[in-house]
Symmetry: C2
Subunit: 411 residues, 2 copies
């Protein structure tokens, strides 16, 4: 008799976006013909840039021609793309070989699947609040107990709040796997080199491994803030970095990212290359055990992103969204709200006024200003009392939303 | 201290294709300027058809235009594609709702990851010989013991050999998960309805679940042979079906497939929809816990495959490869070799003459006829004494290879 993985029962309902949709629809039913401004979702809205489109089109044409047709690529990824990424790091004075870079078809999968190479009894630490995949995949893998009082037993929560500027500090107890999202989704906070150094030191001391999700790193404009954990000395010994073209180049629907597993990374037995070889066995080589590689088309698109012209164009794309973020931050500050993030990340983290809880302020924004936000409580217990606004919106709508908030929100 | 998943240590070296490459290179070093005919690999060689290229190009252009740009799609897949697949099944008198179809970015990942929703103590049965992903992912998930005498402890092997025409029969003992690959890679054998019925009956009786990999189903030309397990009564209660556009439409480098998890599927507790809801939680809904959906571009390409014109064109593509298979089978039979498969599948399964083992005959084919095959022993203990030839080759090379075998192979 087949049985089910009981860990799925521990998962909390994935109700956040469903509940948002429900409340918006209910409001629209009672108030038809109202224009709703959606600033809740972290999904790109601007088209792919010219150079990237050109790259993708040429990839498709190659596949339509017998002379240039290619079937399976290397599971680990097109060597040209891995070389381009290696060069990309080199310009930041980070030395990573093509062997250490694994192309994936979306960072979320790797954020979750990377757990497959670690022992099931490993203790996981996560920031609170944070993007839910780290927690949920830990639950599914059996690395937590039950959900009690807003937290999973067995998980170690690194609380992020106003006191620490929403930057987590390493846990007091020993943990084995530390997930960090930097810039953080949803708070928009970014750690300094010194702050990251404390994590690297902790990880080396405790032979822990940091899983560093930098899907928003290209949004960091402050040059003193690190875009990669490998800017921190020693990080190659203890950190896996996961990145994505989704937010950088509008690839949310194209699906492409990459994961760095350094050869120097060492865990339990001190053997260099062992972690790398396990991930390689799962995802790499000419044929991965559980992965046959990312799309040839998407990879050609990513090569175009990394070309000088592609990088230039996509800087403008990021500037477009970050201009939205600035507008949102400025306007909301002007009307007296307490606003965080939005400077080196496309998310604006708003403290609810009058001690409203996240859903109460969500309702207030919806009903009074017709603006959709994302309740912070959906990202963890410490997110309660906040909402997230996203800069991934058409500028026209951002302006409309801010005008409506200014005019209609009763503060 | 982070520790590694010890199950990876049990995996046998992924040496098969590396060893093939090594032997071919060694041969070429000793015999430079020899033309090698490669019939070993199961990778498509013909370009995408016109209609599919058109679909893919239009998808890319959509992403380059602000009005038609789309970011994240539903994790479960574009509703248009799921509808088209539902219609595709309907024409075969199989009724599946869009809710039961999950688009993936390659069948291999789903073949492995589907294990995530089942209990880790579930006993897995696999055919021997077979495509390695089912075994290896069972090992990684901790569902086997050590590898002893060519077999993993804890796995139940369903032996496929000449006696049973390379079609497995249900195990005598109780198992929980049964992997079937039909048409089978590497033997090219295809089960009849009656043979599949014995598996469905077994699964219902034992509340086991069948994971049915039909990546080669479009190569079945005999109308009496089932292309889907849902042609068998009762299969919706016990079977998950995984399919792919890779071999059907040359999508090996595009990456797209789909997985069917019927709502009627029941395991331990008899609750309908429970298995579906777990997979949906992992891979589906508007945002899957561990998956953010397949590429918009690839999905638009798959829609083109399913269009009337796309289906017509891809039938020709399949006919091209199957003509290769026929040529290979005919020629090798003529020179007295015992040859199986190749009629409803693109693989030809050759019994080695003179009781040579797989590698010995591989070497003989290479040295005497300059033809590269795949040793059957790489697919399991029962594959010993066979080699696999693939029909995924340019016809010119097939003909050259067969002429060379006829002329030079010493039998």
């Amino acid at each position: 008799m087949a049985t089910l993985n009981k860990n799925y029962n521990k998962l909390q309902g994935a109700y956040l976006f469903l509940e948002i949709t429900k409340r918006v629809n209910d409001f629209l039913k009672k108030n038809p013909n109202t224009e709703i401004m959606r600033l809740g979702i972290g999904d790109t809205t601007e088209p792919l840039t010219k150079t990237v489109v050109k790259g993708l089109l040429s990839a498709v044409k190659k596949l339509g021609n017998k002379k240039t047709y290619t079937g399976y690529g290397e599971a680990q990824g097109d060597i040209r793309l891995r070389s381009a990424l290696s060069d990309f790091y080199k310009k930041r004075n980070i030395d990573l070989s093509v062997q250490e870079i694994f192309i994936n078809d979306g960072a979320k999968g790797d954020c979750a699947n990377i757990q497959s190479i670690f022992g099931v009894d490993n203790v996981v630490a996560i920031a609170d609040p944070v993007y839910p995949v780290y927690v949920d995949s830990s639950v599914i893998a059996g690395r937590t107990g039950e959900f009690i009082n807003g937290k999973y037993e067995g998980l170690v929560y690194m609380e992020c709040n106003e006191k620490n500027n929403f930057i987590p500090v390493p846990p007091k107890q020993k943990v084995d796997i530390i997930y960090l999202c930097n810039p953080n989704n949803p708070t928009g906070s970014v750690a300094t080199k010194e702050q990251l150094k404390t994590f690297v030191d902790y990880a080396i001391k405790n032979k822990a491994v940091i899983i560093f999700d930098v899907a928003y790193s290209e949004y960091i404009s402050n040059p003193s803030l690190p875009k990669s954990i490998y800017e921190i000395e020693g990080a190659k010994k203890c950190a896996i970095e996961i990145n994505s073209f989704s937010k950088w180049a509008g690839f949310t629907g194209v699906r492409l990212g990459w994961t760095v597993v350094p050869l120097d990374l060492v865990v339990e037995d001190g053997q260099k290359g062992k972690v790398h070889s396990l991930w390689s066995r799962r995802q790499g080589g000419s044929q991965g055990t559980m992965f046959n590689g990312a799309s040839n088309i998407a990879q050609e698109g990513a090569l175009a992103v990394l070309s000088p012209l592609g990088q230039e164009e996509n800087k403008k794309l990021i500037a477009y969204y970050m201009d939205n973020a600035k507008l949102i931050k400025k306007s909301l500050t002007e009307i007296g709200l307490q606003v965080f993030g939005g400077e080196n990340a496309p998310y604006i983290w708003i403290k609810t006024p009058y001690n409203l809880n996240s859903w109460e302020f969500f309702d207030k924004l919806l009903k009074e200003a017709h603006v959709v936000s994302t309740p912070g409580s959906g990202f963890g217990k410490e997110g309660e009392g906040y909402v997230r606004l996203s800069a991934f919106v058409d500028k026209k709508n951002v302006k409309k939303a801010l005008e409506s908030i200014k005019k209609n929100l009763k503060l």
